[in-house]
């Protein structure tokens, strides 16, 4: 194993232009709001952990790129918001919470669906709208769910009060679980967030509010949307941490710190993950009309989460180039098989159209497009 320690050199995202280019054993210090201490200055990374994080991030990356390909072939249709570039957030968070903890996010959700335990097959089949999809093909890209993972929400910001409610349930049931509630820089200006912050702080709910700040709300840069771009401070009376979201270790340590904070009964905490998405907002956005290709390229070369982890492990002799290659080949194969399944699985049957509107037993009748057509709704 290897011990990595904190340095206080600033990074690309905090406004400075220099990033430590040498893959050294440093993770960056977090900015703190209303906190005396932050995440620890040293973090441990074992070989197994490193390989696991690498595998997780690379799987999400390849899965998203496969989705891009399928979308361009019109096998996936509708809305599709890809997560590539932000993998360290999902991987780092999952590494520091328990499977029994809860997580809810917005529509850029494929990465979290995977880290929360859904197979690549089921994710891709949901994107193609087949019955083998995780939501039986009825939800699509923005609506994927799993035990302890509440989606997958299309309306911006609407998931945040829900997250606070889940945290309330954890507190009420005394099960020592917490809820990770994610939202983006665009959603940070929605009124319902501030309602949630207030309730969570008032009742000391075990909720980690995480803002994935990828610098653009669709095509609007953060400076043009928000009066304050210090999203970790927006909880005002709630303590906050600003974290380098491209470094999976940084994310892990910060989330661990936040989880301990919540579990010890201190109430909610806000985390801002500074991250970046390579794709546009969705597949209908080329992503280059509001930012330069040079900017995207710079992030890819200097701050890519997967490359950074790989270089760190290589330079510390924790794994070999061949091992990484093997993992890559294996992941490619898995993603290819999943795509095969997603293109060949049949669509859900028409009988499913009206199922699961209500909870009802026995089946009820759903009025159709004209008075004499009724379908059955089974729940």
């Amino acid at each position: 194993s290897s011990v990595v320690s904190q340095s206080d050199s600033c990074c690309f995202f905090s406004g400075c232009s220099r990033r430590p280019t040498s893959p050294s054993n440093t993770i960056l210090k977090c900015d703190l709001h209303r906190l005396e201490e932050g995440p620890p200055l040293k973090a441990e990374l074992t070989r197994d952990q490193g390989l696991q994080y690498y595998r997780t991030m690379q799987t999400v990356r390849r899965m998203e790129l496969k989705a891009d390909q399928l979308y361009k072939q019109k096998i996936i249709r509708g809305f599709c918001h890809l997560y590539d570039g932000q993998e360290a957030c999902a991987a780092g968070i999952e590494a520091s919470i328990n499977p029994t903890d809860h997580l809810i996010t917005a529509y850029r959700a494929h990465g979290y669906t995977y880290t929360r335990g859904v197979s690549i097959k089921e994710i891709l089949a949901e994107l193609t709208g087949r019955k083998g999809g995780v939501a039986k093909g009825k939800g699509g890209s923005m609506h994927m769910y799993a035990p302890h993972f509440y989606g997958g929400n299309g309306i911006v910001g609407a998931q945040v009060p829900l997250g606070a409610g889940i945290a309330l349930a954890c507190q009420y049931q005394g099960n020592n679980q917490l809820c990770v509630t994610l939202y983006g820089d665009g959603a940070a200006n929605q009124g319902q967030l501030f309602e949630s912050f207030n309730m969570a702080a008032l009742w000391k709910l075990p909720c980690i509010f995480i803002c994935e700040n990828n610098k653009y709300g669709m095509g609007t840069s953060v400076e043009r949307a928000s009066a304050s771009i210090d999203y970790y401070k927006r909880g005002d009376f709630i303590p906050g941490i600003r974290v380098d979201g491209m470094d999976v270790l940084c994310v892990r340590e910060a989330t661990k710190f936040a989880a301990d904070h919540c579990r010890s009964g201190k109430g909610p905490i806000v985390m801002e993950l500074q991250t970046y998405r390579y794709h546009g907002h969705s597949m209908s956005d080329p992503g280059v009309s509001y930012r330069t290709r040079e900017e995207i390229q710079e992030v890819r070369t200097k701050s890519d989460p997967i490359s950074m982890l790989k270089e760190r492990m290589l330079s510390n002799n924790m794994a070999s180039v061949e091992e990484f290659k093997e993992i890559d080949v294996d992941i490619r194969k898995q993603v290819e098989e999943a795509a095969q399944f997603a293109t060949s699985d049949p669509e859900p049957p028409l009988e499913d159209l009206c199922n699961h509107i209500f909870y009802n037993n026995p089946p009820l009748e759903v009025r159709g497009t004209n008075p004499w057509s009724k379908l059955k709704s089974v729940s």
């Binding site: 093909g137 009825k138 004209n370």
Partner: protein, 327 residues
């Protein structure tokens, strides 16, 4: 007056351009309107009229409408854009409780009549649950606002200009599937199409077909099918204004034909067809030859993969006409 070939989004731009030119208090705001909007309805306006008149808001629908109400009360002609009608619900309270009731509760001392809210509306082929909704029925239930839905570029420009000029807060839903698909010769100068007046597109004697927005085009096809295959003559009426709706034109037509079919994409239960049906049976009971028919969306959330089956297409409407004729 010169006309110009325009599609639906261009006709909207033209209406907004006319407004900004003639009314110095007019301002346009919403998410992403500055660069032209996600459907290109505001292209060129910021450059032409300045960034203090065409500006972006952050992502906050409740804030956008509330802000719009305030601006209107203070005297500005406020034109707010909600990016998709599916996202209008955070603003529902502002619309229903604040905007609609302003004049009433202040005894006519204040009003926000110069507020117009625009939103893309209706199914688009791949919109799924949150990019396809038709929420006009929710707002039809609210006295104090007007709800208007155009079917084509010429109608859109005239109706939008009417909404902006109207001294009541108006919601203008734009069928997004028609933004590029519908093209007409539209006058460049401003013109008004009166609100609360339904338009008879085609006269007929056997069945009255009522719809609005995209569905009107389906009805025109159905009327042609009915004539050709059944020898049935249909009267096709575009309602245009949902609230307050033109009861007179519809009832007069039903008195003549004796049969009524209403169709919309929104779910059937509580959809606006229910209101029309109820009123018509009150007014024209003895004239009816068959029960009033409603061909609408299913009572489910707007589906992802099932959309082609869900929408009230021409075959379902044709079937309904056959049943009414043979009643």
């Amino acid at each position: 007056c010169g006309t110009h070939k325009m599609n639906l989004f261009q006709s909207i731009t033209s209406a907004l351009d006319n407004t900004l030119a003639s009314d110095p208090t007019a301002v346009i705001f919403g998410e992403d309107v500055a660069f032209g909007g996600v459907f290109r309805c505001t292209v060129g306006l910021r450059d032409k009229y300045g960034k203090d008149r065409v500006f972006n808001t952050p992502l906050c629908e409740q804030g956008i409408v509330g802000f719009g109400i305030g601006a209107a009360v203070a005297g500005a002609t406020a034109i707010a854009e909600i990016q998709f009608a599916d996202y209008i619900y955070p603003a529902f309270d502002q619309i229903v409780n604040e905007a609609a009731k302003y004049r009433y509760r202040s005894g006519n001392l204040f009003d926000c009549g110069s507020l117009t809210i625009r939103a893309p509306w209706g199914c688009v082929g791949h919109g799924s649950l949150y990019h396809s909704q038709s929420p006009e029925a929710f707002f039809a239930h609210c006295p104090g606002i007007k709800v208007v839905i155009p079917r084509s570029p010429v109608q859109a420009k005239g109706l939008l200009l009417s909404c902006i000029a109207d001294k009541n807060p108006c919601i203008f839903f734009e069928p997004k599937i028609l933004y590029r698909a519908a093209v007409e010769q539209v006058p460049e100068e401003p013109y008004i199409i009166p609100l609360s007046q339904a338009e008879i597109l085609q006269e007929g004697s056997d069945v009255t077909l009522v719809a609005w927005g995209t569905q009107i085009h389906v009805m025109k096809e159905v009327a042609a099918m009915a004539q050709e295959k059944l020898g049935v003559s249909c009267e096709v009426i575009d309602l245009q204004t949902i609230l307050p709706w033109d009861t007179e034109t519809i009832c007069k037509s039903v008195v003549k034909t004796g049969r009524l079919l209403i169709s919309h994409e929104a779910p059937i239960t509580g959809g606006f067809a229910a209101e029309i049906s109820s009123t018509v049976q009150e007014e024209c009971f003895l004239n009816l030859e068959a029960p009033i028919s409603r061909v609408c969306g299913y009572d489910t959330p707007f589906p992802h993969i099932f959309e082609p089956f869900y929408i009230p297409d021409k075959w379902k409407c044709f079937e309904a006409i056959k049943k009414m004729i043979n009643y």
